[in-house]
Amino acid sequence: MSSTGPARGESPAIDISGVTKKYGKVTALDGLDLEVARGEVHGFLGPNGAGKSTTMRILLGILRHDSGTVRMLGGDPWSDAVALHRRLAYVPGDVELWPNLTGGEAIDLFARLRGGVDAAKRDELIERFDLDPRKKGRTYSKGNRQKVALISALASDVDLLLLDEPTAGLDPLMEVVFQECVREAKDAGVTVLLSSHILAQVEILADRISIIRKGTVVESGTLQDLRHLSRTTVTALTDKPLTELARRQGVHDLHAEGQQTRFEVDSEHLPAIMRDLAAHDVQALTATPPTLEQLLLRHYGDELRGDELGGDGPGGASTNGAGGNGSGKRRAGRARSTRNGAAS
């Protein structure tokens, strides 16, 4: 789509190609390519330690890349940092505030340093996110610090939002508010790069998704393009095992043990399979969307387990996207572990 118009407004909001970043001997980004079109919400999906935050920080001109090219809003993130930062707002996954400044002061300050704050929008967002802006930074919980950064970013009049796991620490209610706000921003024409390690979160908001693994983007496209990635795991308890389902279209990896049957089903075939199940006297049923680990294991080989995810057994017990993470950088979002159970 970027090839159609070389006009200035039509160049991608973000265009990264072949970018490498090393920290000493550790390679954080290894020939990363990423393109984000203007006005789209782009999901940037990957396990912890895959290089999402490094990419964000290179886009912010806070880190320097070693090789490759990076363009953002038609400028160079390192040398044009100040001019570009007037047009973007950034929310990290781990917001640190000044201990003796209040949340309200921090919101105003960040927005003013960007170029200005929309006071009405600010007050409305404070209301919606249910934040007490009079508290000192040191007294806020993690979720509340996150709200401060989100409110300040969303109350600024910008072209681009860089959101790096922005809802880590928010409760599910606030996550819904966040989703509304991102939709409103999109309607207003803002480009959003939203990183996450949880597929389901990105699915809700993103027009397009890029999956990053070990510093490289392994898949990029619309949700439709990535449909093959979203298989639901179904476990059913019935009187008789459901072995005949194995022959149905869209069903994979069926295992039957006694009364319990477990299989995976492509999302598009899920309604039909559910209708089938209804005829089988089901006593208990769980349906779980795939975790990122499962996706990566399934589609990109399983050698990453241990060095990148460090999680539990293959595709199994872990119910959220959080893997133990060598860099110790961010804690996984706790709000999300509930999502899987509610997903069907």
Binding site: R57, H85, P99, E105, R112, L113, D132, R134
Partner: protein, 557 residues
């Protein structure tokens, strides 16, 4: 109840059981703390011991009888009493008496800092970070953490006391030190550390934030230093304020007068303060919630002030609390030291000629004293400047610089703003110190003649502080991990400025101190050339730091 009946042996009454309950787990916690501090503890203890070994042996080696008596004359003057001690036995000086009467004070300060940071680290910092909550959720009494931290401080101070005693005993000095006096030497330093552990046990309860608690304890330490300094100055001149020395924990340890009077009983005061402090600490802790302070945390403004809209404003806003604290200290210290100028001049008639000569002669005694104080305050302000650049590094490490640079603020403008506020702060603080001295002198002497020159004499020393600012900023930009190295230059400059002449370094060496060249106005004329050169070098270094900062990655770990 069941716990009581199950306990073997004589069943203790319920009250005792409850008391023991608040201390449950202290032993386990203490072992855990020792494990965490397996580097920190030996570093403190051995560091203080090594510093002491250096003082004792270096002086023992370089001092012959002649230089020793010259030193004694010098050390008996009031300014030296201020920065050294009451000078027991200096009329019949030995190396041991000199070391005990002059250098021990700095070891006491070190031991006090050791205790304050140990208490803060193992109590309030744990609560502030939320780790204490995890720990407290286990089988652990309410007072276990404070108790374990206190025991740890006691252990550290006992080690310091014993090692310093042994090192003193083994020092290559003539006549060889006596065992009792050597041990008393160490005990005095350790007891001061203990006293400040008691003070820190109280101050860590006051605020929910470790910095505030340590800050209050540090302020008490500063006050203890000044109070005994004034007392000792007065004693050196047979003034009437000698009793002030007895109001300070540092004074108590100095009043033991090792190698002269060898009295142990003043240390009872130190131990009593430690015990009382711990008692108050327990009482306060029993009355507050975990992670809460005794002082309430108030709500602040919902909106930022209008002026808070630029990197310069932010840098000022972030440095403001520290500048206010330093300002208060400068004014208080300035006025008290200034007020002392008059009694010192009064006593000049009775002073030996040598001392009067050192201070600039009978005519210039007052000017000499006030000029020297300019250097003294310049050292203090240089420390402020270094701490400020270190807290800029703290901003970066605490991931608070990143969101600022993610807005339309360039790196040069952020570093420049922070540096500008600190540079202006340094000038402001020296002006305040000078004004304080001027006012104090005015009150004492009733003459405003020296007011202007004193303020000017203090203010021009800002150039030396700016040089340190430049050094620190250059390191911050080019090699941020090495910022702490500025302290080495600082200690070097301090030793040369305060002790250089006493230690009889040659002039070429003295000239390497940045504090040497400006001139101790009003006793000496100001070298504006030196002021200009120091300022220019400082500015160049800031430029180098900015260039480095523009090129490097932010470091957040």
């Amino acid at each position: 109840m069941t716990a009581v009946t199950e306990r073997p042996g004589a069943a203790p009454p319920a009250a005792t059981a409850r008391q023991r309950g608040t201390l449950t787990g202290t032993g386990t916690l203490l072992r855990f703390m020792l494990r965490r501090d397996r580097v920190r503890l030996p570093a403190w203890v051995l560091g203080l011991t090594a510093l002491w070994a250096y003082f004792a042996n270096a002086l023992g080696t370089i001092m012959d009888a002649e230089s020793l008596s010259a030193m004694a004359t010098m050390a008996a003057n009031p300014v030296m009493a201020l920065i050294g001690g009451p000078g027991y036995g200096f009329d019949d000086i030995t190396v041991a008496r000199l070391v005990a009467g002059f250098y021990a004070l700095y070891l006491m300060l070190g031991a006090a800092f050791m205790s304050i940071t140990t208490l803060s680290r193992h109590t309030r910092v744990e609560e502030q970070t939320g780790r204490a909550e995890l720990v407290r959720a286990n089988v652990l009494g309410r007072h276990a953490q404070l108790t374990a931290a206190l025991i740890m401080a006691v252990v550290m101070n006992l080690l310091v006391a014993a090692l310093i005693g042994v090192v003193t005993l083994g020092a290559a000095i003539d006549p060889p030190p006596e065992a009792g006096s050597s041990l008393l030497m160490g005990a005095g330093i350790g007891a001061t550390g203990l006293a400040f552990a008691g003070i820190a046990a109280i101050t860590t309860q006051l605020s929910a934030f470790s910095r505030a608690g340590s800050g209050i304890a540090g302020a008490v330490l500063g006050a203890a230093f000044v109070v005994r300094g004034i007392g000792d100055m007065s004693t050196a001149q047979d003034g009437g304020l000698g009793w002030l020395s007895w109001l300070s924990p540092l004074g108590w340890a100095q009043q033991t007068a090792p190698f002269t009077l060898d009295r142990w009983w003043p240390l009872l005061l130190s131990v009593a303060l430690a015990v009382a402090g711990a008692g108050v600490g327990y009482a306060l802790q029993a009355r507050r919630d975990l992670a809460a302070g005794v002082l309430p945390d108030r709500l602040g403004a919902a909106r930022a002030a209008r002026w808070l809209r630029s990197p310069l404003a932010l840098a000022y806003r972030l440095q403001r609390p520290s500048i206010i604290g330093w300002s208060v200290a400068m004014v208080l210290a300035g006025v008290t030291f200034g007020a002392f100028a008059e009694p010192m001049q009064e006593g000049a008639a009775d002073m030996p000629e040598e001392i009067v000569a050192v201070m600039g002669g009978a005519d210039g005694l007052l000017e000499g004293y006030l000029g020297f104080m300019g250097i003294y305050f310049a050292l203090v302000v240089a420390a402020y400047v270094i701490l400020s650049v270190q807290s800029l590094r703290g901003e970066e490490q605490g991931v608070r610089t990143e969101p600022v640079l993610a807005t339309a603020v360039s790196r040069s403008s952020w570093l420049g703003s922070w540096t500008a506020v600190t540079a202006a702060g340094a000038l402001w603080l020296l002006l305040l110190a000078g004004l304080g001295q001027g006012v104090g002198t005015l009150i004492g002497t009733g003459s405003g003649e020296l007011f202007g020159p004193v303020v000017l004499g203090h203010a021009v020393h800002v150039a030396a502080a700016w040089l340190f600012l430049g050094l620190a900023v250059a390191l911050y930009g080019l090699a941020p991990r090495l910022v702490g190295l500025v302290w080495i230059v600082f200690v070097y400059g301090t030793v040369l400025s305060l002790f250089g002449e006493m230690l009889e370094f040659d002039q070429a060496m003295l000239d390497t101190s940045p504090f040497q060249h400006i001139g101790q106005h009003p006793a000496e004329t100001i070298s504006w050339g030196a002021v200009g050169i120091l300022t220019a070098v400082g500015a160049l270094l800031v430029g180098a730091g900015a260039a480095g900062f523009r090129r490097r990655d932010l470091i957040t770990a």
